[in-house]
Amino acid sequence: MADPMKIRANVVGDSTEVKVLMSHEMETGQRKDAAGKTIPAWHIQTVSATWNGKIVLTAQWGPAVSKNPFLSFKFKGGAKGDKVQITWVDNKGDKRTDEAVIG
């Protein structure tokens, strides 16, 4: 199981700003190891974010997203104390869900 994400969600005016830092290798499948063998691709494919169970963002990622991906977005609504949940699934089928309280 991968390391937890760092999620920060803050109310800005009438919106909520969410910043996420995920912990993932994001191997491109282009690199070779010391023995000259190609390192297989290993990257997050889909990301989804929900607020109170409602989807506020979904994304599809390729291996070109940086290692330990960063993502920020904003959605209308959200109040202090509400929960924002982020889930990612990688190409090996591994997944992780983390939650943050809007502050």
Binding site: Q60, A64, V65, K74, F75, G77, V89, N91, G93
Partner: protein, 157 residues
């Protein structure tokens, strides 16, 4: 469309639906774990191919798509911050395309109503390249581009 979907569900259950999607070229068999990952789009090698794989054609240049907090020169190609903001009404999705990467499409975001059409992330760039932001709004496609010079590549090596 809804009626048809019901029928499919009734006759064959989820398996039939999945194979229908596979037949339509959405995903290849065995890729069911990330069923909503558009494999064809992520394997496309050119901007035109990618736009096509994402369901668009001949996107219009738009000044309403702006790159924010995106550098002109990136010192480290492994971590290039890219922010895209669209002020086109009813923006449904934003995709980031990097022309000279091994696969053009870096990421695509679906923006539901209520979410600001503005996202920021970080991508890898193999070399200096034009970066395109492809926006789908109200069923139409728009594009904006920006050249980013990379001092040290972030792919391969």
């Amino acid at each position: 469309m809804d009626g048809k979907r019901r029928e499919v569900l009734k006759t064959g259950g989820g398996l039939t639906l999945l194979s229908l999607i596979a037949a339509a070229g959405w995903l290849e068999p065995g890729d069911a774990r990330a069923a909503d990952w558009n494999k064809a789009a992520f394997e496309a090698k050119t901007v035109d191919e990618t736009v096509k794989a994402l369901g668009g054609s001949a996107p219009a240049q738009s000044k309403d798509i702006v790159f924010v907090s995106t550098p002109d020169i990136a010192e480290n190609g492994a971590v290039v911050p890219i922010g895209v903001t669209s002020s086109i009404p009813r923006t449904e999705s934003i995709a980031i395309l990097i022309e000279k990467n091994p696969s053009t499409l870096a990421a695509s975001f679906d923006i539901p109503a209520g979410t600001d059409p503005a996202i920021t992330t970080r991508v890898k760039m193999g070399q200096s390249s034009n970066v395109y932001a492809l926006v789908k709004a109200d069923g139409k496609y728009y594009v904006a581009s920006k050249e980013i010079k990379v001092t040290l590549g972030g792919c391969g090596g």
